[in-house]
C-alpha cells in the first residue's frame, strides 16, 4: 500500500519535472523571439510524426536503454558507474575488430555472436578493473572510471587513426563491416535494427535477476547497507568486482550495437556522451526496467525531434540538450518540485 503510493508519487514527480523543463524552455524560446508552440509541434512530429521519425526515436533510445541498465544495475549495488563512455568504446572497438578479422574465414552466423560476446568481454574486463581497484585498494570508483574513460576513448582513437584506419579513408574509422555481419533493420531504410529486441530482452532479464534471484538480492542488499550485507555473509569485495564488470558488459552492448547496427563500422568518437546520458536515464528511471525504457524513449525522442525542430522553427538543435539538462536538474533536486507544490518535508 505504502509502496504503491510512493511509486505513484515518484511517477508524478518525474512527469512534473519533464513538464516544468518544457515550460521553462518555452519561456526561453519566447524571450529569444521563437514560437514555442511551433517548435514543440515540430519536435513532436520529428519524433513521432511518421514511421521514419518513430523509428529514429526508437533507434536513438536503444543505446540509452543499454547504458541506463548498466548504470541502474551498479546503482542498485551502491556503485556509481560513470565509466559507461569508456566501456562503450572498448566494447564497440573490440567487437568491430573481432568481426573484421574473423569475417574472411568464418561464416557470419558464428562471427556475429563471437564478435558481440568478445565486445561484451571487453566491457566486462574494463568495468571489472574499476571494481577490482575499488575492492582491493579502496579507491573511489568514480575517479578510476573517469580515468578509464580517457584511456578507452584515446586508445581506440589512436587505433582507428593509425593501424586500423580504413583504406583511403579521410575520417578515422575502421573498414565497413560486411553487410551480413550488420544487424538486420526492422524497418528498411531506417536506422532501427533488431538491437531493439535485444535491448528489451536485457530489460526483462535485468528485472528477473533483480527481483527473483539470490544474486539480485545480494546486489540490492549491498546497495542498501554494505555492513549488514557483509555481516549477512555476502562476499562484498567479490560482488563489487562482479557488479562493475557486468555493468561494463551492459554498457559495452550500447557501443557494440551502434557499431553493428547504426554505423556499420567503428568511428572515432561515435558515442559522444551516451555513457553519461545513461546516468540521467538510470536516475530518472529509478533503476527499474520500465523506468529506464520510458526515460530512454523520452531522451531518444528529444534527440530524434531536434533536427526537425531546428529546420521548421529555426531553433538550434542544441535546445534539446537544454531540455535534457533541465529534466535532470528537476529530477535530481525533487525539493524544487516539492517546494513549487507546497509539499515541503519538515
Amino acid at each position: 500500500m505504502t509502496r504503491n503510493r510512493k511509486y505513484l508519487e515518484d511517477v508524478g514527480f518525474s512527469l512534473v519535472a519533464i513538464l516544468l523543463s518544457f515550460l521553462l524552455v518555452a519561456v526561453i524560446m519566447l524571450i529569444l523571439g521563437y514560437n514555442p508552440i511551433e517548435a514543440y509541434k515540430a519536435l513532436f512530429e520529428g519524433a513521432f510524426g511518421s514511421s521514419y521519425s518513430l523509428s529514429l526515436t526508437l533507434s536513438k533510445s536503444v543505446p540509452l536503454i543499454f547504458v541506463g541498465l548498466a548504470v541502474g544495475f551498479a546503482l542498485q549495488g551502491g556503485l556509481f558507474n560513470i565509466g559507461g563512455e569508456g566501456q562503450i568504446y572498448i566494447g564497440g572497438f573490440v567487437a568491430a575488430i573481432t568481426g573484421l578479422l574473423l569475417s574472411h574465414t568464418i561464416p557470419a552466423f558464428i562471427t556475429l555472436p563471437v564478435a558481440v560476446l568478445s565486445g561484451m568481454a571487453g566491457g566486462f574486463l574494463w568495468g571489472g578493473t574499476i571494481g577490482l581497484i575499488k575492492a582491493k585498494l579502496n579507491i573511489n570508483e568514480v575517479i578510476v572510471a573517469i580515468m578509464m574513460n580517457y584511456i578507452a576513448q584515446l586508445m581506440t582513437s589512436y587505433f582507428v587513426n593509425g593501424p586500423f584506419i580504413a583504406a583511403k579513408s579521410m575520417t578515422p574509422q575502421t573498414e565497413i563491416l560486411p553487410l551480413n555481419l550488420q544487424l538486420p533493420k526492422i524497418i528498411p531504410n531506417t536506422q532501427l535494427t533488431t538491437s531493439l529486441y535485444i535491448a528489451l530482452i536485457m530489460c526483462v532479464l535485468y528485472g528477473f535477476v533483480m527481483k527473483r534471484t539470490v544474486f539480485g538480492f545480494e546486489v540490492k542488499a549491498m546497495g542498501n547497507n554494505l555492513h549488514s550485507a557483509a555481516t549477512g555473509g555476502i562476499y562484498v569485495a567479490r560482488n563489487t568486482v562482479l557488479i562493475m564488470a557486468l555493468s561494463g558488459a551492459l554498457a559495452a552492448m550500447a557501443g557494440i550495437f551502434e557499431v553493428f547496427g547504426t554505423y556499420g563500422r567503428f568511428i572515432d568518437g561515435f558515442s559522444s556522451g551516451i555513457g553519461f546520458t545513461g546516468i540521467a536515464i538510470a536516475f530518472i528511471g529509478q533503476s527499474t526496467p520500465i523506468g529506464i525504457i520510458l526515460a530512454s524513449l523520452l531522451f531518444g525522442s528529444l534527440q530524434a525531434g531536434a533536427m526537425q525542430m531546428s529546420m521548421m522553427a529555426g531553433i538550434s538543435a542544441n535546445i534539446n540538450n537544454v531540455i535534457q539538462g533541465l529534466v535532470i536538474v528537476f529530477i535530481a533536486t525533487p525539493n524544487i518540485i516539492r517546494f513549487a507544490f507546497g509539499k515541503r518535508r519538515s
Partner: protein
Amino acid sequence: MPAILMKQISKAFDRLKALDHVDFEVDAGEVHCLLGENGAGKSTLMNILYGLYHADAGEIYIHGKAVHIANPKIAQQYHIGMVHQHFMLIESMTVLQNIILGNEAGRFAIDYAENRSRIDELERLYHFDFDLDKPISVLSVGEKQRVEIFKALYRGADIVILDEPTAVLTPQEVDVLFRILDDMRKQGKTIIFITHKLHETMVLSDRVTVLRNGKIIGSLRTEEVTPKILATMMVGYAIDFDIVKSTFKPGKPVLELRQLKVLAASHATISLQVRQGEIYGIAGVDGNGQQELEGILAGTAKPLSGRIIFNGEDITAMPAAKRKAKGIALIPSDRLQNAILPGMPIIDNYLLGFQHNSMFSHFGILRFNVLKKHADNMVNQYSIKISALEQPISQLSGGNQQKIVFSREAGLNPLLLVAVQPVRGLDIGAIDAIHRQLLQLRDRGKAILLISTELSEIMEMSDTIGVLYKGELIAQRKAGEVTIEQLGLFMAGERPE
C-alpha cells in the same frame, strides 16, 4: 508558579497522532524525568518546547507568561537549552570555539581572553574541567556530551532539556553526568530529563511524568512511586520483572576460543568455552575489545592470533557466509549498521544471511513462497507488530526491528547464538521479550555467548560470567559465585588472586 506549563499540546505527523492533548508542568529548580517507551512522544514534546517542532494546538507558558516559540533561537531567549541525543558539535573545532560559537565576546575580532575568563568562571561554578584547546574530534562521547551541557549553560540556560543522555554513556560516565546534574540543581537550574530507564528516574528525579502513546498517564513525586508502578504506567500492563531461570544443565562444548588475540595494542588473549544449554556472559566496559571480538566471531574480521573451534572444527579462517550455514547465528550490537537493510522490506530482511539456504533458494532462484511462509511464522511466533511483510523495516520501532533480527537469527535452529548488546536502546517490553527468548533457546540446549556492557543484564542472564579488560578475559566465575562489586573491580582491571 511553574517554570514551564504546556497546556493541551497536540501534534500529528501525517495521520499519526504523536501528542494528544498533553498537559505538562515543571517546577523551577527540580529535576523532572519525562518517562516513556520509544515512540511515546517524549522527544516530540520537548522539541516543541525548544522550537524545533510546532504544536498543532495548545499553549506554552514560561514562568506564567504565554509564549510563542517559533525556533530554537527564541527558546534560548527564554533561557531554555537542549542537549540532543546526536550532538550538534563541530568536530574539527576546539572545545573553546564550540562553546562560544554564536555567542562570541569581542567587538570585531573574537576576544579569546575574555571568552576564556567567562568560561573559567562558569567551569568553577559547576565543577567542569575542560581542555579548551582540544579539538572535539579527540574527545570521548561522555566529554562531548559535557561540552554540550556546558554550551547550554554558557548561553544562559536556566531550563536544560536532556534527550536520553545516558544511552551513549558507559556506567562511569553516567555517574559523572549525574554529579553534574546534581550541581546544576544546587545552582537552581531546572532540568528536564527524557528517559525510558526506570532506574535512572528513581535515582535522579524529584518528579516524573509518564507518557504513553502520546498521552499523559500521570505526573508524580518520585518518592511516592516504585519502579513497578512506573513500569505499569509506561507499558500499560503489569510487567513481571522476575524472570525464572530453570536449572543449569550444560552439555557438550560448542564454541571454544583458544588464546584469541583481538586487540593490537595488547598481548592479552581470550580463552573460553561455551557449552550446550549455557549462557556465557562477557561483561566489560565498552571499548575493551567487544567490537573486535564481535567482528571476529561474525567472520568479517580476522583475529591477530589464536583459534576459534566450533563443534570440534577450526573455523578461524571461515568466511561469514559459511559460518551462518554451520549454524552460528549473530545478533550484532549495531542493529542499523550491521543487522538490517533499512530501506528494504521486512521479508527481504528475513532473507539476509540465509539467501543461500536451500530452503529459500534453488540454483540461485529465490523461493518467495517459502520465505513468505517462514517470515509470517516468525512474525506471529515472536508477536511482532507489522502492517505487512512488504513494509520497509525502517518504519518499525527499534524494538520490533530487533525482534525481527532475533527471530531471523534464532528461527532457523542455530547451534550457537552470539548476542552482542541484544537489548541496547530497547524499551522494557521489548527487553523482557528478548531476554525470555534467550532463556528459551538456552533451555532448548543451544549455546549462547552474550556480550554486554550492561552489568545487570549479564548478572540476570548468564550461567557463566567472564570479564573482558583490554582484550583479555581477566576473570571467569560461575553465576551466583560472584557479586556485582567484584565484577566491577574486574571490569576496572583488577586481577583476581
